[in-house]
Amino acid sequence: MPIYSEKVMEHFMNPRNVGEIENPDGTGEVGNPVCGDMMTFYIKVKDNRLEDVKFKTFGCGAAIAVSSMVSEMAKGKTLDEARKITPKLVADELEGLPKNKFHCSNLGAQALNKAIDNYLKKQAKRGKK
């Protein structure tokens, strides 16, 4: 009985969208290595839609699988739609997470949100200019 669902294992073994985006429209970094996990999300936005999403993650199997799942769920969504990707939704899509790993799904959603925030902030600045 592995601690992770098959879906988590599948995303961990074959994570989608690993990497960085050159000149991203937004980036979001959460976590720190002290508490175990750290994720950086990169987004490319076009017409208010997430044209591309990539990530780098330092962390456990759950952290990597969550990152992969979030990136996949977010890609192609509008910013508003992407905001609605909750930790619960991510965990459900992954067919559950061990109780003590649930915080990983928080991190994933947070990192994506931070990247969107970062994009919007940049846009605002640009607008001001």
């Binding site: 961990f12 073994m13 994570p15 690993v18 960085e20 970094e29 290595p33 002290v34 508490c35 175990g36 996990d37 750290m38 994720m39 950086t40 780098k56 993650t57 330092f58 962390g59 456990c60 199997g61 759950a62 952290a63 990597i64 003590n100």
Partner: protein, 395 residues
């Protein structure tokens, strides 16, 4: 796929001879040794033979061996039982910062019960300095408990030196030798200690059985109250099949200890030198010389242990890690932190522990599968990206 078990610190397989020895006691010889009929007689005979074997292994006499249900029980029994038996004399105890939780948390429970606890720090190699023990001894110190060898980083402690100090001060000294008994030679008289814990499943014996050596004349309070088994010091129907298995494992360990040290030491040394030759930014943890022969422990920079462990497992290799993510409590190994490693580095912990069935080919296989795994995780790691771009973030 090749299957390579390199997690002997977690538990060892049974030797076939041990299993064979146990089987009759799972079958017709199922008696309870407290009983006065034939079934009881056979069980008692088997138990006393096993006691002799365990006593022989560590240089004790049979009436100094108490069987318990696990290493954890032996440690709880020793720490709590020795402290409680002396509480009229004093209420201060000393343990090292890198004890197994079964010692450390027992000590914390004693703290709740009104004892004072001093934790001795260790150096970067995880070694306890005997002088540090001496400095911390007080008038009311009644117990010092310092492990013989640490299972996570392999460091062997200078127990005989510490015991000399505790003897000078007339203080009881317990050592958790669960990670060492059966793997290296351990003699209670040479060590000069008052109590020692050992466990079957650490040296090819069964789970569910441990023993506590307690020097003749040393008083201890029972942890398990009840019947008068084990001279009234540990109640409960004895786990005869497991006790028989422990005895057999002890017997084999006594015979084979020299060849075990040699074989395991060779495998360990190969991995300790060849893995860092293949992987950059990897640190050996634990003492370079005074270490368990089967223990090769590392921290790999920029990546996390659980992910490494899972990818190794996908290649058939079983290891363990002291990273926060692998612990159910999500805390990095207190051993690595006590040795002064940063939390970031401790996250990259990976521990290979060899057993007598491992062979050269297993090392070759690890050397083949490990570097690509590290590379793959580093390619995913924002810390590694930062390091390669800025040169910052390494040690």
């Amino acid at each position: 796929m090749r299957k390579v078990y390199l997690d002997h610190a977690a538990t060892t397989p049974l030797l076939p001879e041990v299993r064979e020895a146990m089987l009759p006691y799972l079958d017709e010889l199922f008696g309870n040794p407290s009983c006065l009929h034939d079934w009881g007689d056979s069980a008692r005979e088997a138990m006393e033979a096993a006691r002799e074997q365990v006593a022989q292994l560590i240089g004790a006499s049979t009436d100094e061996i108490i069987f318990t249900g696990s290493g954890t029980e032996s440690n709880n029994f020793a720490v709590k039982g020795l402290a409680l038996a002396q509480q009229n004399k004093g209420k201060h105890i000393i343990v090292s910062a890198i004890e197994h939780f079964s010692v450390l948390h027992s000590a914390k429970t004693l703290e709740k019960w009104g004892f004072e606890l001093t934790e001795i720090p260790v150096d970067q190699y995880g070694t306890v300095d005997p002088d540090e023990v001496r400095k911390r001894i007080r008038k009311d110190t009644v117990l010092v408990s310092i492990m013989h060898a640490n299972g996570e980083v392999g460091t062997i402690e200078p127990i005989a030196e510490i015991a000399r100090i505790t003897r000078e001060h007339n203080i009881h000294f317990h050592t958790d030798a669960i990670a060492s008994v059966g793997t290296i030679s351990v003699d209670v008289k040479e060590l000069g200690i008052d109590a020692l814990s050992l466990a079957g499943n650490q040296f090819y014996g069964p789970k569910g059985v441990g023993a506590l050596y307690i020097r003749k004349g040393v008083r201890i309070m029972p942890l398990l109250d009840g019947g008068v088994q084990e001279g009234g010091r540990r109640a409960g129907t004895e786990n005869i099949p497991a006790i028989v298995g422990l005895g057999k494992a002890a017997d084999l360990a006594k015979k084979d200890v020299a060849s075990r040290v040699k074989h395991l030491g060779h495998l360990r040394d190969r991995l300790l030198t060849e893995l860092p030759a293949q992987i950059d930014h990897i640190v050996v943890t634990g003492h370079p010389k005074n270490r368990l022969p089967g223990n090769a422990s590392f921290c790999v920079e920029f990546i996390e242990g659980e992910a490494m462990l899972m990818l190794l497992n996908s290649q058939g290799v079983a290891v363990t890690s002291g990273s926060a993510c692998t612990s159910r409590a999500l805390k990095a190994s207190h051993v690595l932190i006590a040795m002064g490693l940063s939390h970031e580095l401790a996250q990259g912990s990976v521990l290979f522990t060899f057993g007598i069935d491992n062979a050269e080919g297993d090392i070759d296989y690890v050397l083949e599968v490990m570097p690509p795994i590290v590379e793959r995780l580093r390619q995913m790691s924002p810390l590694y990206a930062k390091f390669t771009k800025t040169g910052k973030g390494g040690r």
